[in-house]
Symmetry: C2
Subunit: 223 residues, 2 copies
Amino acid sequence: MTEKVSIEKKVLSENDRIAGQIRQDLSERNILCLNVVSSPGSGKTSLLERTLESLGNELEIALVAGDVQTDNDASRLMKAGGKLVRPIVTGGACHLDAMMVAKALDQLDLNSTDLLIIENVGNLVCPSSYDLGEDMKVVLISTTEGDDKPLKYPAMFRRSSVMVINKTDLIGTSEFDLDRVKANALQINGNLTIMETSCRTGDGLEKWVDWLKDEVSAKKQVE
Amino acid sequence: MTEKVSIEKKVLSENDRIAGQIRQDLSERNILCLNVVSSPGSGKTSLLERTLESLGNELEIALVAGDVQTDNDASRLMKAGGKLVRPIVTGGACHLDAMMVAKALDQLDLNSTDLLIIENVGNLVCPSSYDLGEDMKVVLISTTEGDDKPLKYPAMFRRSSVMVINKTDLIGTSEFDLDRVKANALQINGNLTIMETSCRTGDGLEKWVDWLKDEVSAKKQVE
């Protein structure tokens, strides 16, 4: 086991080195980078489709979409108007790592990009351990998943800056309690910015879009 | 990377050795063992609560409930009438392994047990790689997760014997198509037994319970 742990440390430190390069490169170009994480089916791709529809004419948005198999998500993002989209098919791996992202970014012309969004593999555990060079992680949780998830998968919520509670149109169809999920998440990470969205009805998307615009502006003002 | 792969192989082969011991031990006692897997929040614990309510007086059911953090699921199962319940808190690990299960089983008196159900960590990727000594894996997918999940996370559906489509009461609240999810799953694994349940309304639970009873009987008749 010690041998396994030391190898894992080596892999993670190599990952961190590459993530550091990505972060430096993107920062020099004042590109805001988000790493979007969640369980499978929480609505990451739907949120990004809505984001492209709302902001695609205003901001230059590049997207990297990771999946274990299929490039379904990347196809959906291109259909939603994404011009700079790269799929990463991990072929079994349960998370994106910085090397995969670096290779995908090599295929994208980021010269006029304002915002880079990395859609991670649907997995509430493993992606929390891999820095991809992002400015922040955005964790989605859907209202059908149960309000105890922040307590059961704490690392992801601890390492995220934003929690988006998605599928608010389905509140009332299960025992999910909005106040309780917020309290549980803030117990794990008191600094979380929390937003509520329904990608189906559009509720709450304005706040998400405004927040994105503010963060992109702030990144541009960094010297 | 080669070094990492060879260490992973070593860890997996040690896992398989322990899983083999568990399988042999359970088979000698004619105990049916299921490994229940899914995304976070698909309803594994709810299905097991309903199972205990329906079958708890008829069969002796032992349960091992895995979570990254908290023993919430084990507590819920005990409240639902589970007499032989052990939590496994993985403390960060994204899956159960055979050693964790072997240690949990050491704490349970299985002398009159008919059925052992292992509730894995909510993760549609990593648990597919770890044999726990089960007779079969049962994968849950909820109707709010999207009907493309079998294609995007194929290993789990390929290695499962049964797919339970849960939260059928929420069909119609999203684009989820029941025929499409079945076709996608059968494209990955043509041998899947497919059932549909709503733990909320009780729809479909009778078929699940009957299937369980048949499998338990079949296991008892094995020489």
